[in-house]
């Protein structure tokens, strides 16, 4: 069964999360058509082809130069029109793909399923799995509409390379539609604030509301440095203005899956859990033994996070 997979290309590279969705669709016995979208999408045909698409459709053109959702949605709607019977469009969850999905839903009547962690083929239908209610429930979801769009959580799947022959490739010019006067300009990145490294890090030391002062974050950075990792935060610290959003671990921040995750003063609310539960080893330090995270980590330490972090720093610091 054919499904479309939205693969966004930025800076000449296909989104690795989208390649993961492609791999998962292939593994589920579906025939995924990779719809590769971006101003320079053609350059990514080779890399995308390694992940087993049954077909590649390239959508490119000057209209995709910015980071706006509307021109992408218009272009994807053109591709969808080639399947008059409807179908399923799968994508990873980013700000851009979320907005594209919303616009497509409004324009085509497509149903929206989100927060997804798995996909399978069941009696000829695509069934997706939603992890809900703080990951206490898994729900199998189907669509009632001709078109259905599914947004998968980051790190739901790993990209898997497969041997494959050449696939038919079509190139679609993104239509220069009405952009409603919206102008999107990318602001060049300033100093590296750790956002990208957080996603790649094998060790993450993260702080939450249990920290007393903004300066406590420096203690976490020090421990992260000693362990060879990076520091992160939970949503409340971003809302307090203590840390930039690029440091946020969570469903709407960065979703991480390091070998080690040390949660300091983090209660483990749903949206944070989604962002780190696939970590290898989880150590949680919290004064409240009843905090949610204390029941689903590997090592639950009841105590003041900053005091214990300080003790770890003393233990791990090279003798002076």
């Amino acid at each position: 069964m054919t499904v479309l997979v939205h693969v966004e290309v930025a800076d000449g590279h296909p989104d690795a999360e989208a390649l993961g969705v492609l791999s998962a669709a292939r593994a589920a016995g579906l025939e995924p058509v990779a719809v590769v979208v971006g101003v320079d999408a053609s350059s990514s045909v080779g890399p995308v082809n390694r992940y087993g698409p049954s077909e590649i459709v390239v959508v490119e053109g000057a209209a995709l130069g910015g980071a706006a959702a509307l021109p992408r949605a218009l272009a994807l709607a053109e591709v969808m029109r080639e399947y008059p019977g409807g179908g399923r469009l799968l994508a990873p969850t980013t700000t851009l793909t979320t907005e594209v999905a919303a616009v497509l839903s409004a324009r085509t009547g497509a149903g929206l399923a989100w927060g997804l962690v798995d996909v399978r083929l069941d009696a000829g239908e695509v069934v997706v799995v939603r992890s809900a209610a703080g990951d206490t429930v898994l729900a199998d979801i189907g669509w009632t509409t001709a078109w259905g769009i599914g947004l998968f959580r980051s790190h739901a799947f790993d990209p898997v390379e497969v041997d494959g022959g050449a696939v038919l490739t079509r190139v679609v010019d993104a239509p220069a539609g009405d952009d409603r006067g919206v102008e999107t300009v990318e602001i060049p990145r300033g100093d590296d604030d750790g956002g990208e490294r957080l996603d790649q890090a094998q060790i993450v030391v993260a702080g939450g509301r249990g920290l007393r002062r903004r300066d406590d974050l420096d203690r976490l950075r020090e421990l992260a440095r000693l362990l060879g990792g990076v520091a992160g935060v939970s949503l409340p610290l971003v809302e307090l203005g203590w840390a930039p959003r690029s440091m946020q671990v969570g469903q709407t921040g960065t979703i991480v899956a390091p070998l080690l995750y040390v949660a300091c003063g983090i209660s483990g609310q749903i949206q944070h859990r989604v962002g780190m539960e696939r970590s290898g080893t989880i150590v949680a330090i919290n004064t409240d033994p009843a905090a949610p995270i204390m029941s689903w980590c590997d090592l639950a330490v009841v105590g003041d996070a900053v005091e214990i972090v300080d003790a770890l720093i003393r233990e791990l610091s090279p003798p002076s």
């Binding site: 927060g115 429930v137 669509w143 033994p289």
Partner: protein, 260 residues
């Protein structure tokens, strides 16, 4: 200038409801959510800026929500903060709808209050608010800027900055438009005693989805829950309550697992 503040644009359907319940935590339905206070605050700041530029300018702030009637308390809080009037659309007949279907109801509701600016602040831990607002803006044919971390009102346009996976972006949208702000965008004020008293006399219109120009019976959820099951549990938790012994045990565990 007319500003519509859209309060709590989230889903209530099926598994979405379970998420919504977890997320609401201890916030009662009759209280204005923390995120909503930032949308109201942004509206107040825009109104003040318009009045400073032109003392005679007509400015109206309307709080709009699709919610159970118990949310009247939340609406009154928005009025106490300075909104001029409110519209509460009773969601009883549409509560079972999902994200995509609710966006259609919200769009129909917003269409009853033509405005220069629609403001909302969605709970930033999930994406349903972003989906609903973006879809509603598209149905209305309005430009939208989302996840605004800063907000600048120009003569006929609004410029925001936002953080995304692709780096920071500056987005300019012409009025009329929809702008979703984040909860870091402003410091909220609190209602005064005078404001609370005034809120009691401000008009609140109660409407039903059927009055929005469509038959709620004909609108159905776009997704269906086929089965529910508990997730497999994968970790066994070891608990350390002796804070003095904890650092040693952590280091021991990291060595056991070759993480150190």
């Amino acid at each position: 200038m007319k500003i519509v503040v859209c309060i709590n644009p989230t889903t209530g359907a099926a598994v979405d409801a379970a998420d919504a319940a977890v997320r609401a935590g201890s916030t009662p339905v009759g209280a204005l959510r923390e995120s909503d206070t930032h949308a109201v605050e942004q509206a107040l700041q825009v109104a003040e800026q318009v009045r400073v530029a032109d003392a005679g300018a007509a400015v109206e702030i309307v709080a709009v929500t699709l919610a159970p009637v118990e949310a009247l308390g939340a609406v009154r809080e928005a009025l106490a903060l300075g909104a001029n009037r409110a519209v509460l659309c009773d969601d009883t007949t549409v509560r079972g709808l999902d994200t995509a279907a609710l966006a259609r109801v919200l769009a129909a509701l917003l269409a009853t209050e033509p405005a220069d600016l629609y403001l909302a602040c969605t709970w930033s831990g999930d994406i349903d608010g972003l989906l609903i607002l973006t879809a509603a803006a598209e149905i209305l044919g309005l430009p939208i800027a989302t996840q605004a971390g800063s907000f600048e009102l120009g003569a006929d346009r609004i410029t925001i900055t936002r953080q995304s996976e692709r780096g920071d972006q500056r987005v300019t949208v012409p009025l009329p438009c929809v702008v979703e702000v984040t909860s870091t965008i402003n410091q909220v004020r609190y209602p005064t005693v005078k404001g609370r008293a005034a809120a009691q006399n401000k008009p609140v219109a109660l409407v039903r989805p059927a009055q929005l120009g469509f038959d709620p019976e004909e609108l159905s959820a776009t997704t269906r829950v086929l089965a529910l099951r508990p997730p497999a549990r994968s970790r066994t938790t070891e608990t350390v309550t002796d804070a003095a012994a904890a650092p040693g045990r952590i280091i021991e565990l990291l060595r056991e697992r070759r993480l150190l």
